[in-house]
Structures are given as structure tokens and as C-alpha cells.
């Protein structure tokens, strides 16, 4: 059970890092470490730890350790509480799928969605590295742009790849995700980071292709506050970032309907993805990245315990 503050996405005594601060750090590893180390100690256990079977050693029980891991036999013999430590295993693949289409290159504040996605991916890669998972990265727009296969040694390669990313062309989900799905050989944790600008009916079949072989799928839906509110002031026309097509608008008049459509889109995604056992995390990129990660990871930890 989460404490109230945790439920609100806050760690007691912890101040989250403003996304703007992250933009001043040009080292992705440092960004990831700053983001992750800040809150990871607050978690009971890395929520992404795989369950290894190779016993390593006993160590004294510390408050906060999972009671299920107490070796009761040792307790019976020694009358002391010991916890079994297992040899960590490279037991899982983490596939980071990053949408680098042109629409991701938008941000009304310090960060664009693509920047945020890079930081998010780097942070997740760092968390996985800490628990010795294999890390891979695939970037795509209407096609697959770059692929780094998962490996325990590919953390730096992933970071370098993330660092080099530049926004590409128009987004297309079905083709690239189908190819990615086909390329996944082992059961993996697949993280899709995108703004998901496509009708739900097109998105779901595309995303669903990633779930075969029992892949665990997490979808981060990134949106800028301006996209959420359409507070465009006295703007009279908008141009599509990807297609370049323009249309005249009167933001004040369109705001309400726009928001309703967007909220309906989110709700539909959440409902349909949830129904398919896919985690859907909606992310406002004005929110601190560590707060988003913490909220998600603590939620995932809770789910792991209850499973």
C-alpha cells in the first residue's frame, strides 16, 4: 500500500528535478543517474529485478526487506533473521522503442517531447543496468532508424545512440512495430515512448504486435502542455509539423472540443491497452521526469508484490 505522499507521486523529503535542470546536463548517463539515484533508494526493491534462482549468500535481515525472502531454516537454527541473496542474472531484455518522428520535436517550454523521451529512455536504461538487464534501443519514425540489440554491455551504446538522435520524418506505427515485434527473439520488457498521434484503431493492432512471446509492454504517452490545452493565444493558423499542411484556427473557440477529443483519445488508449495487459503511462512533459518514473516504478513494484 502506498503512503499518501507516494500516491501523489512524491517521496517524503525528496524534491524532484525540474525538467529544465536536466537540459543543462549534457551527459545522458549523469542525467539518468541524477534522475534515478534520487528516488531509487526510497523504493523497497528495484521493481524491475528479475527472479534469479542461483543462490549467492545470506545476509542479515534489514527492515524493509521482503519477508518472503527470509530463510526460515537458518532462523530455526540460529534464531536470527537472514535473507537469501541470489546471484543476479541477466534475466531480462529491455527494449526501448523510441518514436523520433517530427511531431516529437515539439515543446512549448524547456524540453521537447524528444528530449524528454531521451531522458526517460536513458533513465530506464540506467535502472535496468543497475539490475544487470540487457538493454537495447530501437528508434523509428515511419521506418526503423536505428537498432541496438539488447546486451548487458550496450548501456553506453544506448546512451550514445540516444545522444545522437535527431527528429526524423512522419510517424507511422504499424510497419515499424510489426518489424520490431518480429525481431524480438526472447521474452522482453518492451518500453514504447511516443506521442501516439494515430487513431486508436490503428495504434492498438500495431502495439499489440509487440506482445507476442509474452513480452511485457509499457507505453509512455508523451504530450506537451500546449498540446493538452491548445492555449495558442492569438494564433490564427497552425502548420502540421510532419506534413507541413496548414489550417486556420480560432483557438479560443476550438479549445473545448479539442480537449474533449484528446481526453477521449487518452481514455480510449488507457482502457484498451489496459484490457490487453499493457501498461499505459500518460506523461505531461512539464512534469519532473523523476516524479513520473518514481510514480510508475512504485506502481510497478506494487503490482509485482501482488502478483
Amino acid at each position: 500500500m502506498l503512503r499518501p505522499k507516494e500516491a501523489q507521486g512524491q517521496i517524503p523529503g525528496q524534491r524532484f528535478i525540474d525538467p529544465e535542470v536536466l537540459t543543462r546536463i549534457d551527459n545522458l548517463e549523469l542525467i539518468a543517474r541524477s534522475v534515478v539515484d534520487g528516488f531509487i533508494s526510497g523504493l523497497h526493491q528495484s521493481p524491475m529485478l528479475g527472479m534469479s534462482v542461483d543462490f549467492a549468500e545470506h545476509r542479515s535481515y534489514m527492515p524493509g526487506d521482503d519477508v518472503r525472502r527470509i530463510d526460515w531454516r537458518v532462523f530455526a537454527r540460529t534464531d536470527r533473521l537472514y535473507v537469501k541473496e541470489f546471484e543476479a542474472d541477466t534475466n531480462a531484455n529491455l527494449h526501448l522503442l523510441l518514436d523520433i518522428s517530427k511531431s516529437m520535436d515539439f515543446g512549448s517550454a524547456a524540453l521537447t517531447k524528444l528530449d524528454y523521451a531521451k531522458f526517460l529512455a536513458a533513465s530506464l536504461a540506467y535502472v535496468s543496468k543497475r539490475q544487470r538487464d540487457r538493454i537495447g534501443l530501437i528508434t523509428f519514425d515511419s521506418k526503423i532508424v536505428e537498432t541496438i540489440p539488447p546486451s548487458i554491455r550496450h548501456f553506453n551504446a544506448v546512451l550514445h545512440a540516444l545522444d545522437r538522435i535527431e527528429a526524423g520524418g512522419e510517424s507511422e506505427y504499424h510497419g515499424p512495430l510489426q518489424r520490431i515485434g518480429e525481431s524480438l527473439r526472447r521474452r522482453s520488457l518492451v518500453v514504447l515512448i511516443s506521442d501516439l498521434y494515430a487513431p486508436v484503431e490503428q495504434l492498438l493492432p500495431a502495439i499489440d504486435q509487440l506482445r507476442h512471446r509474452g513480452n511485457d509492454l509499457i507505453v509512455f504517452h508523451l504530450l506537451d502542455p500546449l498540446e493538452l490545452n491548445l492555449e495558442l493565444g492569438d494564433v490564427t493558423s497552425v502548420e502540421d509539423l510532419e506534413s507541413g499542411s496548414q489550417m486556420p484556427i480560432a483557438p479560443a473557440q476550438l479549445q473545448q472540443e479539442y480537449r474533449q477529443l484528446l481526453q477521449a483519445h487518452q481514455a480510449e488508449l488507457e482502457r484498451r491497452l489496459g484490457a490487453n495487459q499493457i501498461d499505459y503511462i500518460f506523461t505531461d512533459i512539464s512534469q519532473p521526469l523523476d516524479s513520473v518514473l518514481y510514480r510508475y516504478l512504485s506502481d510497478r513494484e506494487r503490482q509485482t508484490r501482488t502478483r
Binding site: D105, K113, V238, D240
Partner: protein, 700 residues
């Protein structure tokens, strides 16, 4: 205290207020599109037309407008001025007023051309920053140009003037010039007087009041010795016995030149020449010619006496009007049994009246019909009862329609006074009051403000006090009554009441020596003459006017007719006036003032029927023909001597003026407020700009 502006022209910049509005509209129009990640949702919203020309950021717009307004307000240099605010002395400038004489006498020889040349020269000599105003005067002073630096305008104004027909009044002109200069803040103020300086232009001791800070410079035109004779007076005298209509005409002729003149004098009546006389007029001579035994062919005669034309033509003609004896109809009402000699004194006095003469009838109430009352101009009720019933009502209507009523109180009982009074009789008569032990009452002087007393020949009024009153009837004045004279014991002696167009006078004692010795006093005759003229509305009836006078035509219509029937007709229809130049002037009842602008005959008649009611004769003021001039230097000195001191506290030196301006720093405050607004505007504009969405991909 009022708000004034030093540079009000800056308010023309108010049109700039359109600028921010335009900017707000144009800015809105020019706002380009921005790049947006996806139009997926926007395309799903049905397009609706939206008005593009819409002003956004009202607060900002308001702020910008206010800012502009304040800046203009400050540049217009507002300052608080009060009536007592001192003028700021301008050391660089001089203000002058050219006062140019355009009276009739300026027509003599080349006087007017000289005057115009002098005035134009004065304009040419002025410095660029100097201001000049122009006043043209005769008996009135007209500001034809305010103080201005524009020499071209001044020249035009001066060249447009011409000499008129009126008389000279220097005082009016100089005082008007003083008023024009009163608002000037120039260090040097001058009145430049251009005139022939006729001696008749100013009465002795009637000096104009000018300010001591004003310099008076006289520019006299040079009078050539132009031969001029004039008719300086005409007098018409009816025959002494009053029985015939014949009259005598006396004409006074003056030779104003320094040499003897041969002249021919013509007399014509109604356009027919009756007499011609050849005359030899010595230099400076005043000669009187008499024409006696003149008999008018009609009841109204228009007469002209003329001399041959000379230097000044119009003063060689004199117009006069003679009408057959105008006798005002007057009715004396006595009791059925009058005292012995009761009306003798009254009738004797009336018989002596000349202007006007009275046509007197004596009757008692029972000899009178109700409808007859309107035939008389004045009714005297001499110590008899006021009638009641229809006659009482008719008497009231008579007064209301403009008739005059004189009531004397004596032994007769006034039982109908209240019932018949109904507003046309003053007060309430009570019982008689007798003097005790032989000490008679006197009458105190007449009310000095009343027309009966306000007369140049009002000496008779004071003589009323010599009258001995043995008895009088007590009259208690009521509201609306005016007591014109009191007895020694403060009881009312003479009371007036006005009802609509008519008047009633009540003398609370008798007109015969029954109760007093008034009839034996010298004041008796002038008192009665003036009272009856006053009651008849006759006192202002003049037939001869001078150019420049104003005639009240309605009064003549009333007086000449001597009957209220004419008054009623005249009041219903407008009067038509034919001027000598045959111009037709239509006079409404409310505006029956006729300006006399030219010499000749003015004929006044009603629109229908077009019969002539009144003829007025208008002549040039004979004084204008007199070329005798003032000693100009002495005249100017006398004016200077009597000049009022200029209030010294109201004129400031340059340094004081600077200090004074320092005090008028309202515009500093306004400019400071504008600066604060500018700051606010910048902040607000910045905020508005920050709230605009960024271009995609742009990082701060």
C-alpha cells in the same frame, strides 16, 4: 479656478489614438501560424467562421490609448488659471489698438482717406511680433479686428471700413480699446487714435477711463478749409391760440467755414416747394430763418428744409414732421352734484397743455355708456364714487388695455372700491384724516426712481413739499401697489397700480382746494401734465430722431392713436417700417425697436391695411457738421491725468514669470503619470508576449 492650455494645438494629436487600435487589429491580423505536432484532432472539429477583426488584450489597448492621451495632455501644457492669475509680462512685444473714427464728419473733404492712410501706415510700421487690434467708432465702438500679428488681415480690415452717418463719441471708443488691451500681457500697450477730433466728440468732463499702463497716441487728420454750411436746428411751433392748424418753422443755419457763403434755402412740405430764400452767410455765422403761417394740407406733413450741397452734403437737409394738433382725449368724471369750482383748476391746467394738448370732456357716470370708455386715453375720476357692475368691469378692461386712470379721493364714499377694484385700483380707502389744530400735512418728495420724478425738469417734484394738506383719505396699500409719495405722517399720498398695459394713479386728496392748497401751488401744473402724459403713455413720443438713435415704434403707435383700439390692432399684427432708402423692415411686437440708420422719413404702418400710422423724421446729428476741433495735446494729457492705475501686482517681471511658470507644473505630473503608464504597458506587453506559445523546437 479653471484649466487652461499653453499649447492646445497638441490636442490635434488625439487622432493618433487610432494608432494603438490599428496596431491591435493589424497585429491580430498578422499573427502568423505556428507549427503544431499534429492536426489530427483539429481536423476532426468542424470549421466555423470566426470574426478575425477582433481586438485582443483590451487592457493593453486601453493602457496604450491612455498613455498617448497623457503624453498629449502633458505637451499641451495644462495649467490652472484663476481670474486673479497675474498676466505674464512679455517684454518683447507691444500691443496696440488702432481706433479709427468713422463718424459722419470724416466724410468732409479727404478726412477719411487720410485716416485710412494713417492706419495702414501704423500697421506697416509694426514689428513682426507686435499685435494690433482695430476699433472703428462713431457713437458706438466696434471691434473690427482683435489683437493680431497678421498685418495682411489688418490691412484688409482697415481698407474695408467706410465713414458712416453717425455722430462721434470718443469716450466709447477709448474705453472699448482699454477693454481690448486689458487682456494683453505685452509690456507696451498703446491706443492709436485716428480721428478729426471734433470738439463735439466728447462732452466736457466726460473723459474716458483708460489704464495708466496704456499709452495714447493721437493721429489727427488735417482738415482743409472746406466750405461747409449746415442746418443746425429746426423748430416747429403750432399756432399759439391752438384754434388753427397753422404752424411756424424756425430754421437755424450755420456757416462753418472761414469765408462768407452764398446759399439758397428751400422749404418743401410733402414734396412741394413752398419757399426759397437766397442767403448771405458771414464766416462762422449762425442765422435763423423763420417761416410762419404754414398751413398743413393733411393731418400729417413731411417737411424738408435744404441748402445747396457743399463739403458735407447730408447736413444740408433737415427733415421734420408736423401733425395737426394731436389732442389726447381725456374724460373727467364728476359726481352728479360737484362742489362749486371743483373742476375749474383741473380744466385750466389741461387747457394750458401743449405737448400733447388734451381734448377734455366732463361727464358723470349716468351720462356715460359702457362702450364709450375706450374712446379716451385717460380718465380722471375726480372725487366721485367708483362704479360697480358693468361700468366697473368696463373700467377695469379700459385700464388693462392700456388706458390711464387718475382717481382722486375726497368726500365721496367708495363703497364699490373693493368689488369693482379687481386689481386695477390700489389699496383700500378708509376714512378721511384731518389735520389737527390747523397744522397741515406736507407731501414728501416723489419716489426718485419713478418716471414721474426721474426727469431733467423734476424740480417741481420737490415743490410738492410746500403743499399744505388739510385732509386726506387713508389708503392702505396692498401687494403690487407702489407708493410714489407720502404725507408727513407716513400715510400714502400718491399710489400707483399697474394692470397689464395700463396704469392707475390714486391721489388720496382732492384736486381742488377743498382739502388742500395743491391747486394753488406751482407744482400743480407740471405734476398734472406729467401724470396725465405718463398715464397716456405719451411721454416718449418723439417724431424727430438723429441717426444712431433707436425708436420704440410700438409706443408711437399707441400714443399717436390715443386709443386702445389701435393698440389692440397693432399688437395683433406686425408693423411694417419703410426706411428712407425704401428698405422694408418688419417689426414684431416683441422687437419693436427700430434702429435709425439714415436721414429721411421712416414711415410706420400696419401690414393691413397699409395706412401710415406714424412718420418719424431722422436727421444727421448737427454737431457732426461743426468742424471745431479739440486741442489734441491737451485732450490726451487730460485723459492721462484721469487714467486709472494699472494693478501692479498683476504684472510680473520675467523672473517672476519664470517662477510663476514653475508653479504651473501640472504637466510634470501628467508626464510622470505617462511614464508610469509606459512602464506598466511594457510589463503587460511582456507578459502578453510570454503567454504566447513558442515556436516548436525553440528552447529557452
Amino acid at each position: 479656478m479653471s484649466l487652461s492650455w499653453i499649447n492646445p494645438l497638441y490636442f490635434a494629436g488625439l487622432s493618433l489614438l487610432a494608432l494603438p487600435v490599428l496596431i491591435h487589429l493589424v497585429q491580430r491580423q498578422q499573427t502568423s501560424g505556428i507549427k503544431f505536432p499534429s492536426l489530427m484532432f483539429l481536423r476532426q472539429i468542424p470549421w466555423r467562421e470566426k470574426r478575425r477583426l477582433e481586438i485582443r488584450h483590451w487592457l493593453l489597448l486601453l493602457l496604450r490609448c491612455l498613455l498617448l492621451l497623457l503624453v498629449m495632455f502633458a505637451f499641451a501644457r495644462p495649467f490652472l488659471s484663476s481670474e486673479h492669475a497675474p498676466a505674464i509680462l512679455d517684454l518683447q512685444r507691444s500691443d496696440s489698438v488702432i481706433v479709427i473714427d468713422r463718424s459722419y464728419s470724416m466724410r468732409l473733404s479727404d478726412s477719411w482717406q487720410q485716416a485710412q492712410q494713417i492706419a495702414l501706415r501704423l500697421v506697416d510700421e509694426k514689428q513682426a511680433q507686435d499685435r494690433i487690434g482695430v476699433i472703428a467708432f462713431d457713437d458706438e465702438a466696434e471691434v473690427v479686428s482683435d489683437l493680431t500679428e497678421n498685418a495682411a488681415n489688418l490691412r484688409t480690415v482697415i481698407e474695408r471700413q467706410a465713414p458712416g452717418l453717425r455722430t462721434t463719441r470718443l469716450r466709447a471708443a477709448l474705453e472699448q480699446a482699454t477693454r481690448l488691451l486689458a487682456g494683453s500681457n505685452a509690456q507696451r500697450k498703446r491706443i492709436l487714435l485716428v480721428s478729426d477730433f471734433q470738439a463735439a466728440g466728447i462732452a466736457r468732463g466726460d473723459l474716458p477711463l483708460v489704464s495708466q499702463d496704456t499709452e495714447i497716441v493721437a493721429h489727427a487728420v488735417k482738415l482743409a478749409d472746406s466750405a461747409n454750411t449746415s442746418i443746425s436746428a429746426v423748430s416747429v411751433t403750432p399756432s399759439a391760440d391752438g384754434a388753427s392748424d397753422e404752424f411756424t418753422l424756425a430754421v437755424e443755419l450755420t456757416n462753418h467755414s472761414a469765408k462768407a457763403m452764398q446759399q439758397r434755402l428751400d422749404l418743401s412740405l410733402d414734396g412741394r416747394v413752398l419757399a426759397q430764400r437766397e442767403l448771405n452767410l458771414p464766416p462762422g455765422a449762425v442765422v435763423t430763418q423763420t417761416f410762419s403761417g404754414l398751413s398743413p394740407a393733411a393731418s400729417l406733413v413731411r417737411g424738408v428744409v435744404s441748402l445747396a450741397d457743399d463739403g458735407l452734403a447730408l447736413d444740408n437737409h433737415a427733415y421734420f414732421v408736423y401733425s395737426k394738433q394731436q389732442k389726447l382725449p381725456l374724460l373727467i368724471i364728476e359726481g352728479s352734484r360737484p362742489r362749486a369750482n371743483q373742476g375749474v383748476y383741473l380744466e385750466s391746467v389741461l387747457r394750458l397743455a401743449r405737448d400733447p394738448a388734451f381734448r377734455v370732456e366732463r361727464r358723470s357716470w349716468n351720462q356715460l355708456e359702457v362702450t364709450e370708455l375706450s374712446s379716451w386715453a385717460v380718465i380722471v375720476i375726480d372725487d366721485t364714487t367708483i362704479p360697480g357692475g358693468d361700468m366697473g368691469t368696463a373700467l377695469r378692461d379700459f385700464v388693462a388695455a392700456g388706458g390711464g386712470l387718475l382717481v382722486t379721493l375726497g368726500t365721496a364714499q367708495q363703497d364699490n372700491w373693493l368689488s369693482a377694484g379687481d386689481g386695477f385700483l390700489p389699496g383700500k380707502p378708509l376714512g378721511p384724516v384731518d389735520a389737527r389744530s390747523g397744522a397741515a400735512f406736507g407731501i414728501r418728495a416723489l419716489d426718485a426712481d419713478h418716471p414721474l420724478a426721474a426727469n431733467r425738469d423734476s424740480r417741481y417734484a420737490s415743490n410738492l413739499s410746500t403743499t399744505s394738506i388739510f385732509s386726506y383719505r387713508m389708503l392702505q396699500p396692498t401687494a403690487g401697489d407702489r407708493v410714489l409719495a407720502y404725507y408727513d405722517d407716513d400715510a400714502a399720498a400718491l399710489v400707483e397700480r399697474q394692470l397689464e398695459q395700463g396704469k392707475t394713479l390714486v391721489l388720496t386728496t382732492t384736486l381742488d382746494p377743498h382739502w388742500n392748497d395743491f391747486a394753488l401751488q406751482p407744482a400743480f401744473l407740471p405734476f398734472l401734465h406729467r401724470s396725465l402724459r405718463y398715464l397716456a403713455g405719451y411721454d416718449a413720443y418723439r417724431r424727430e430722431f438723429e441717426v444712431g438713435d433707436i425708436a420704440y415704434v410700438m409706443r408711437y403707435a399707441r400714443a399717436q392713436a390715443g386709443s386702445d383700439a389701435i393698440v389692440a390692432a397693432a399688437s395683433a399684427a406686425p408693423l411694417i417700417v419703410e426706411a428712407p432708402s425704401t428698405d422694408i423692415v418688419r417689426l414684431e411686437r416683441e422687437q419693436a425697436l427700430l434702429p435709425i440708420d439714415e436721414p429721411g422719413f421712416y414711415q410706420v404702418h400696419r401690414a393691413t391695411p397699409a395706412e401710415v400710422e406714424v412718420v418719424l423724421a431722422a436727421n444727421i446729428d448737427p454737431a457732426e457738421a461743426n468742424p471745431r476741433t479739440l486741442d489734441v495735446a491737451r485732450f490726451v494729457e487730460e485723459i492721462k491725468a484721469s487714467a486709472r492705475p494699472a494693478p501692479p501686482a498683476e504684472i510680473l517681471t520675467r523672473r517672476q514669470a519664470a517662477d510663476y511658470e514653475q508653479q504651473q507644473q501640472l504637466w510634470h505630473l501628467v508626464l510622470s503619470a505617462a511614464l508610469v503608464l509606459l512602464l506598466l504597458e511594457a510589463l503587460l506587453a511582456n507578459r502578453v508576449a510570454l503567454n504566447r506559445p513558442l515556436r516548436p523546437g525553440v528552447k529557452i
